[in-house]
C-alpha cells in the first residue's frame, strides 16, 4: 500500500469514526432529552438558580395538574391556607408543668407554651408536612429557628411530642418551645420540604415555593421554555430523572430526601424508625438491583397522589414474579404459593411507628415470618 492510499484510508476511518460518534451521541438518551444537567439534585440547588414556578410548567404540561395534590407537593403548607390549622383551630397538650396551645386567629396560628408563670407565644411561620401523618412547626424566637417540641398528628387529631424529640418534661420554658435548629438543620428541613428555599448554601426564605414543586425534581425551567419556544424537541433544556439508572434514582435522587445509603450511618441507630426511609429499606430486598423495575418510580408516579390500594402495585410485582401456582415452593422467589393478589399486604407489611402515630409501609420486600423481629 503506497503512502497516498494509506492517507486516504486514514481519512475514511476518521470520518467513519466521527460519524459513529455523532450517531451514538444522537441516540444517547441523555442527549436525546437534551438534558442540561445530568446531575441535578433536588437538595443542591446552585446559588444563581431561577425557578419559574409550577404555573409556567402547567401551561404546557396540563396532564400533570394532579401533582398539586400529591404528598410531595404538600410537604409544606402555607400557614395562612393551612387546612390542618384551620380545621383544628385550638390544639392543646400538657407536658409536666408546661401547657401547650396552638390557636388559630384569622390567617395566623400561634404556638404558645406556658409554665404557669411565664408564657412564650410565637406565630407559626412554617408548617411542615401535609397532615397524612402529621405536621410539625417551625418558629423563630430571639433570632433562632426552633422546631416545635409538639406536633399535630392526624390519627389522634391532637398534639404529641415531635418525632425524635425526647419524650421528657422540658427543663425550662425556652427548652419547652422546642429544639433550636442549627444552620444544617434549617437547610435540611427547607431543602426537602420547599422549592428554592436553599440556594447554594444560603437560606432564601424571602422567596420560595411551599412543598416539592415541578422544578425541584426537574431543575430550573427557563432554558427548557426558551428552547421549546425556539422549536427544539420537548425534552430540551430540562432534567428528567427517568434517564437515571434504577440505583441512581432510588439511592441518590429520591434518597436525597427520602434517605438512602448515604445516611445509613445515621439510620443504623434509629431502629424501627428506619422504616420511614424507603430507599434505605428497599435496598435490603433480595430483588433490589440497578434495574428501574425495582426503582421508586416503578411503583410510584410522583406526579400523582399516592395510591393506597395494594392491588395497584400487583402488576409491578408480576413483571418479574408469576402468580400463585400449585407447584410453587415457598422461598423459590419466582411465584407465590399462598396468594395471587395484594402482594404488598404480605411482603411489604405495615409497621407501626408509635412515636409518629402512623403505620408505614416497609419497603424491605421480603417473606415475612410470623412473629419475626423487625429487621433493622
Amino acid at each position: 500500500m503506497n503512502q497516498t492510499v494509506k492517507q486516504q484510508a486514514l481519512i475514511v476511518v476518521t470520518l467513519v469514526l466521527t460519524l459513529l460518534a455523532l450517531v451514538l451521541l444522537m441516540f444517547d438518551p441523555l442527549s436525546v432529552s437534551g438534558q442540561v444537567n445530568r446531575r441535578w439534585n433536588p437538595r443542591r440547588v446552585p446559588a444563581d438558580t431561577v425557578f419559574l414556578g409550577d404555573h409556567v410548567c402547567l401551561d404546557c404540561h396540563k396532564k400533570f395538574a394532579s401533582f398539586g395534590h400529591s404528598g410531595m407537593a404538600m410537604a409544606m403548607e402555607q400557614v395562612g391556607e393551612s387546612k390542618i390549622l384551620s380545621d383544628n383551630p385550638q390544639l392543646t397538650m400538657r407536658v409536666g408543668g408546661y401547657s401547650y396551645q396552638i390557636k388559630r386567629d384569622g390567617k395566623q396560628s400561634f404556638y404558645s407554651v406556658t409554665d404557669g408563670k411565664d408564657t412564650i407565644s410565637l406565630p407559626i411561620l412554617y408548617a411542615f408536612g401535609q397532615g397524612k401523618m402529621g405536621q410539625t412547626y417551625v418558629l423563630q424566637h430571639e433570632g433562632k429557628f426552633y422546631e416545635s417540641l409538639v406536633s399535630f398528628y392526624n390519627e389522634p387529631k391532637s398534639l404529641d411530642f415531635t418525632i425524635g424529640a425526647p419524650r421528657l418534661e422540658p427543663t425550662s420554658l425556652l427548652d419547652a418551645v422546642g429544639r433550636v435548629l442549627t444552620p444544617n438543620d434549617v437547610s435540611n428541613c427547607f431543602s426537602c420540604h420547599a422549592t428554592g428555599a436553599v440556594m447554594g448554601s444560603q437560606l432564601r426564605l424571602d422567596k420560595f415555593a411551599h412543598g416539592v414543586r415541578c422544578e425541584s425534581c426537574h431543575g430550573p425551567g427557563g432554558k427548557h421554555v426558551a428552547a421549546v419556544k425556539e422549536g427544539e424537541p420537548g425534552g430540551t433544556g430540562i432534567f428528567n430523572p427517568k434517564f437515571l439508572s434504577g440505583d441512581e434514582l432510588t439511592q441518590q435522587f429520591c434518597a436525597s430526601c427520602h434517605r438512602g445509603s448515604d445516611e445509613f450511618a445515621l439510620l443504623k441507630s434509629m431502629e424501627i424508625n428506619n422504616v420511614r426511609f424507603q430507599p434505605y429499606r428497599i435496598f435490603h430486598s433480595k430483588c433490589y438491583s440497578d434495574d428501574r423495575k425495582i426503582s421508586c418510580t416503578a411503583c410510584h408516579n410522583p406526579h400523582e397522589p399516592l395510591r393506597e390500594d395494594p392491588a395497584h402495585y400487583d402488576k409491578r410485582c408480576l413483571e418479574c414474579h408469576t402468580l400463585k401456582t400449585k407447584t410453587a415452593k415457598a422461598g423459590d422467589g419466582t411465584s407465590c404459593p399462598v396468594a395471587d393478589k395484594n402482594c404488598t399486604s404480605c411482603h411489604m407489611p405495615k409497621i407501626e411507628v408509635k412515636a409518629a402515630h402512623f403505620n408505614f409501609t416497609d419497603h424491605y420486600i421480603r417473606v415475612v415470618r410470623p412473629g419475626e423481629k423487625f429487621p433493622n
Binding site: 442549627t182 444544617n184 435490603h284 440497578d290
Partner: protein, 400 residues
C-alpha cells in the same frame, strides 16, 4: 476504694461462687480420691487462708504448690495473677494470666487482666490485642474491671494512632457522667491526635490537652454549649497549632457544615498532609455532589493513608458517582479488606456491585451488611454505663 476483683470474674459461677474446696468436688463421685487430691486440698485451704489474711507472699507460694499438683486449675492461676498484679509484679502476673487464658480462652476477664499486665510491662501491641479480645468476650457484670479495660483500651488506641476508635471507646464513659482528669486527659490526646501515653505528655502541652479533652468529653456527651465554649478557648489560645481546627470542624460538621469546611481548610493550611481533614472534606463534597472538588482530596488521602478504610470508602463512592464503576469496586473491595467488620464498607460495596450488575455479589454484601448491623445493634444494647477509674487503674484485690 472498692476492690477490683472480689471473686474470680468470668469463671464458671458454679465454681467461683463456691469456695475452692467445694469447687474441687466437681470431680465425679465415683472417682476415688488420691493422695495428691488430699495434698492439693490442703494447699488450697492454706493458700485461701493466707490470701484472706493478706499474707500474700505466703498465698502465692501455697497456690504455687497446689498448681504443681493440678496445673490445669483455673482459679489457682487467677489468684496467683491477681496477687502478683496487686503487688505490682507484672511479669509474673502476666505469666499467670497467660496460663489462665490458655486454659479458659473464652474468659473475658482473664484476657482483661492479661492485657492490663502487658500494658504495665510495656508489651503494648499484645496488650491491645488482649484488651480488645476481653471487650469482645465481655467482662460479665464486673463493671470496675470493664471500666479499667475501657480506659486502657482507649490509651492504646491513642498510642497506636487509632484516634477515632479511642474517642468512641472513651465516649462510653459519658454514660455515667464521670469527668475525672484521667478521662479528660485521654479525650484530649485523642482529639489532638497525639499518640502519647499519659506519662509521656510534655508538661507544656498539658493545658492544651486538658482544654481539648474538655471539648471532647462535652462533644461525646452531646453537651453542645460546654463543647463550644471549650473549643472557643482552644482556638483562641492555639490558633496555629496542628490538630486544633480539625476537631472543631468535626464538631461543627453536623451543625454548620460550611463553617466546618472552613475549619478543615484551615487545618490543611497548617498541616498540608492532614489526611483526616481531606477525608472529611471529601465526604462533605460527596454529600454536596461536588465530585470534582472531592476526588482530588479523596485520592490524596488514600495515597497518604492507604490503610485508612474511610479514605477507600469515600474514594470508592466518589468513583461510583462519576461513573468509574470498575475502579470504584476495586477501592471498595480494598476498603472491605481493611475493615471487614465495618457495615458502611459492605453497604458501599453492595451498591457498587449493584451498579456493576454483579447481582450475586451485591446480595452477598447486603447480607453481610445486615448481619453486621444487627451485631452492632445488639452490642449497643449490651453496653451499659458503669463505673470509671478514678485516679489510676485499680489493682485487683485478692481479698474479699
Amino acid at each position: 476504694m472498692a476492690p477490683l476483683i472480689l471473686a474470680t470474674p468470668g469463671l464458671d459461677q458454679s465454681i467461683s461462687a463456691q469456695s475452692p474446696r467445694k469447687s474441687r468436688a466437681k470431680q465425679p463421685a465415683s472417682q476415688p480420691r488420691t493422695v495428691a487430691d488430699s495434698e492439693f486440698d490442703r494447699f488450697v485451704k492454706l493458700a485461701d487462708d493466707a490470701r484472706l489474711s493478706d499474707r500474700l507472699d505466703e498465698a502465692i507460694s501455697l497456690y504455687g504448690q497446689a498448681l504443681k499438683i493440678k496445673p490445669k486449675w483455673p482459679e489457682g492461676w487467677w489468684y496467683v495473677g491477681a496477687i502478683f498484679y496487686q503487688k505490682d509484679v507484672y511479669p509474673q502476673a502476666r505469666d499467670a494470666f497467660q496460663n489462665l487464658v490458655a486454659l479458659e480462652p473464652q474468659r473475658g476477664p482473664a484476657w482483661a487482666m492479661l492485657g492490663l499486665c502487658q500494658f504495665q510491662t510495656g508489651e503494648l501491641e499484645r496488650a491491645a490485642a488482649a484488651l480488645e479480645r476481653s471487650r469482645s468476650l465481655g467482662v460479665n457484670d464486673h463493671s470496675e474491671l470493664a471500666s479499667v479495660v475501657r480506659y486502657h483500651t482507649a490509651l492504646l488506641y491513642i498510642r497506636f494512632e487509632y484516634f477515632e476508635n479511642a474517642y468512641e471507646v472513651l465516649s462510653e464513659f459519658t454514660g455515667v457522667g464521670n469527668e475525672s482528669a484521667k478521662i479528660i486527659e485521654a479525650f484530649g490526646l485523642a482529639l489532638l491526635r497525639m499518640p502519647l501515653l499519659p506519662k509521656e505528655i510534655p508538661p507544656p502541652q498539658r493545658e492544651k490537652i486538658l482544654i481539648a479533652g474538655r471539648a471532647g468529653y462535652s462533644m461525646a456527651a452531646r453537651r453542645m454549649e460546654p463543647a463550644r465554649a471549650a473549643f472557643d478557648v482552644l482556638l483562641a489560645r492555639y490558633p496555629n497549632d496542628p490538630n486544633v481546627h480539625y476537631p472543631y470542624g468535626v464538631y461543627m460538621l453536623a451543625q454548620d457544615s460550611d463553617l466546618a469546611m472552613k475549619e478543615f481548610k484551615r487545618e490543611l493550611e497548617i498541616s498540608p498532609l492532614h489526611y483526616p481533614a481531606m477525608v472529611q472534606m471529601a465526604f462533605e463534597y460527596l454529600k454536596r455532589d461536588q465530585y470534582e472538588d472531592a476526588l482530588p482530596l479523596a485520592e490524596k488521602a488514600a495515597q497518604l493513608a492507604p490503610k485508612l478504610y474511610a479514605a477507600r470508602n469515600v474514594l470508592g463512592r466518589l468513583l461510583l458517582e462519576v461513573g468509574q464503576v470498575d475502579r470504584a469496586v476495586k477501592e471498595l473491595e480494598e476498603g472491605v479488606k481493611l475493615a471487614p467488620s465495618s457495615p458502611e464498607m459492605h453497604f458501599a460495596l453492595a451498591r457498587a456491585y449493584t451498579r456493576a450488575g454483579r447481582k450475586q455479589e451485591a446480595a452477598r454484601e447486603r447480607e453481610i451488611f445486615k448481619r453486621l448491623q444487627d451485631e452492632y445493634n445488639q452490642k449497643k444494647e449490651l453496653v451499659k454505663p458503669d463505673a470509671v477509674p478514678d485516679q489510676k487503674p485499680e489493682k485487683p484485690s485478692s481479698s474479699p
